[in-house]
Point group: C2
């Protein structure tokens, strides 16, 4: 059965600091029910894969402090399916470890990499695309990514330039560009050749390991390769702790996808994808009043105020007057009132909070 | 001893809705430690009178729901010193009742009327002025008010026009004007003839009863006069309940001071007086950062923001960016973010809150 070769690594170690103060270090965005569905983003991510990927083949890549939250929210996951990174090192080391770990369990493993903070509005279309993607990588030696046709020159996302078409939905990838500025994003959108990079990847364990080994510069793979024979044994965690401490912090996009020549894209315009990275992305996907205001969990009285997003604990009453294009986010011990245009700076504000006011506000 | 004829009626029945959501129906401004001194505005008001007015001659004019708060904050006050108005009827009925009640206890009573929400920065000067005021009304048949020379064309206060001088500090009053618009306030300030009306009054029980009886239009006094012989007896509260229900809601300024011809003013520029009626008045008296921001009970990170007042429960962290001249007031279940120029409208917003969201937010 090919299904038994299908694996998923859910990336759920982030702290979501751009969604502070709703997303907290102790309770990051992926564990929060941001959409009011009754399920956290992580729970929705797991639920979307049901029946496509065997439950025992779903791995969580995270930090040790989030293991209890994962077990609570996804009780069907066993301890050995939780890969606890000993340090924050972005996505390349994590994907290297996951690939080596899973390959030790199943040399024929095909791996889907799924961020835990995606919003997928059309789940059935998404599931069909996942199956299609697995079938594609089972037949091609490729690193595949889900791409979405841009509807606006969004500067929050990375862009994929399409190369030669493979068939109607699949194509070779020519270039990757991390978050461009607005001018460049407009050029990308107008060209018709570019797609948003969703961060949802598919590859065989072999293919990603090979691609990592070809990236000599960031030296991620060579250290992980030294552990062959140790993965899947009692010594794995000690080995991982040792190499993580010295590992570079680099993204899989940079270490692999921008350099490899066998990257392809599956266009998934119909799945209703959003990366819930910032208050603005939450604003974009939320229902709005006639004045363009979005409310999350609060009661509001918005006077002469347009295009704001208000988030507060349930039943809190927020009265705002004369505010346009603002983020108003209230939590138990912190309140943020900043223009939506500063959403990317929130991460820096939080860093400053840590320095000046202590960890209890993170 | 003339001191035994000296009484004070502290007006502490207001709800302070313009200082919402810090001032709440269940805990109005006068019971709150707004200045961080460790004492509420009411406690400060009582403390300022110590040694000038016998403790047993201090009366609280309030609503029944606030009696427990008064007893808790001013335990030296006995139950019979708390006059509980059976309904909200502004200041004329309250002062009529207090005058008749106190006159029944002491026909020679001289009464000071003191709002519980005043801030007095220089207490010793204030105490000297109080003594001077009592001595003046002990010798003159007059209704005396404390006036403060305006330092700016403030539209939050009423204005007193001075008539003939009696001596350097006392003068006859020619006119009273309730809150003027900015143009008129500027004319008043420029003329040099006008003073802010502090709402601190001094009169004998006889003088205020006589003045009220001459105001036929608002008919406040005639009904209270019918109760002579009942004040100070077991039947007083039943009588008060009956006449309050039918009484007009009218201010003592309107019913008496604007009409009487024996009103005088004692100029008290040196006492450092402020009426803590609005967020703006709190802003005015509070220490400011170089950028003009005021913080009450919160930690703040103010980015590119000037001339704001931020109030929150202790240890709450507030981050604001790009806000100028705003009130940011946070409480357990309500958050207000409005321009300082709208401070007078807050009362209306609170009324709307009551209608749309229920009493728990008041």
């Amino acid at each position: 059965m090919t299904e038994n070769n299908r694996y998923c690594v859910i990336m759920c170690g982030g702290t979501g600091s751009r969604l502070w103060p709703k997303s907290r270090t102790r309770m990051p965005k992926q564990f929060i029910d941001f959409l009011g569905t009754g399920q956290s983003l992580l729970q929705l991510t797991v639920a979307r894969l049901k029946g496509i990927i065997p439950q025992e083949n779903i791995f969580m890549l995270t930090q040790s402090e989030y293991a209890p939250l994962i077990k609570e929210q996804v009780p069907e996951i066993s301890d050995k399916q939780i890969l606890m990174e000993p340090a924050h090192r972005r996505t390349a080391p994590g994907n290297a470890w996951a690939a080596y770990h899973i390959k030790a369990l199943n040399p024929d493993a095909k791996i889907m990499v799924a961020p835990a903070d995606n919003i997928i509005l059309r789940v059935e279309e998404f599931r069909q695309s996942v199956v299609k993607a697995f079938e594609f990588i089972e037949q091609h030696d490729t690193l595949l990514t889900f791409g979405v046709k841009p509807t606006r020159p969004e500067t929050r996302y990375g862009y994929i330039q399409q190369g030669k078409e493979i068939d109607g939905e699949f194509a070779h990838v020519k270039t990757f560009t991390e978050k461009p500025d607005l001018e460049l994003a407009k050029v990308f959108v107008d060209s018709g050749e570019f797609y948003w990079n969703t961060g949802i990847f598919f590859w065989s364990a072999d293919a990603i390991i090979k691609a990592l080994s070809e990236d000599a510069a960031s030296k991620v793979s060579s250290r992980f390769a030294e552990g062959e024979g140790i993965y899947g044994t009692d010594k794995e965690m000690d080995f991982i702790k040792e190499i993580y401490a010295a590992s570079q912090s680099v993204s899989v996009d940079y270490a692999v996808l921008e350099k490899a020549d066998n990257v392809s894209v599956l266009r998934v315009d119909g799945i209703g994808w959003t990366d819930l990275g910032t208050w603005g992305s939450l604003y974009d996907v939320s229902p709005k009043t006639r004045e363009g205001n979005v409310t999350q969990g609060a009661k509001t009285m918005m006077l002469n105020s347009r295009n704001n997003i208000v988030s507060a604990t349930r039943d809190k009453l927020v009265i705002a007057s004369g505010l346009n294009d603002y983020i108003i986010a209230d939590s138990d011990n912190a309140l943020l009132i900043v223009p939506r245009s500063e959403e990317q700076k929130i991460r820096n504000y939080v860093r400053e909070v840590k320095t000046n006011h202590g960890k209890e506000y993170l």
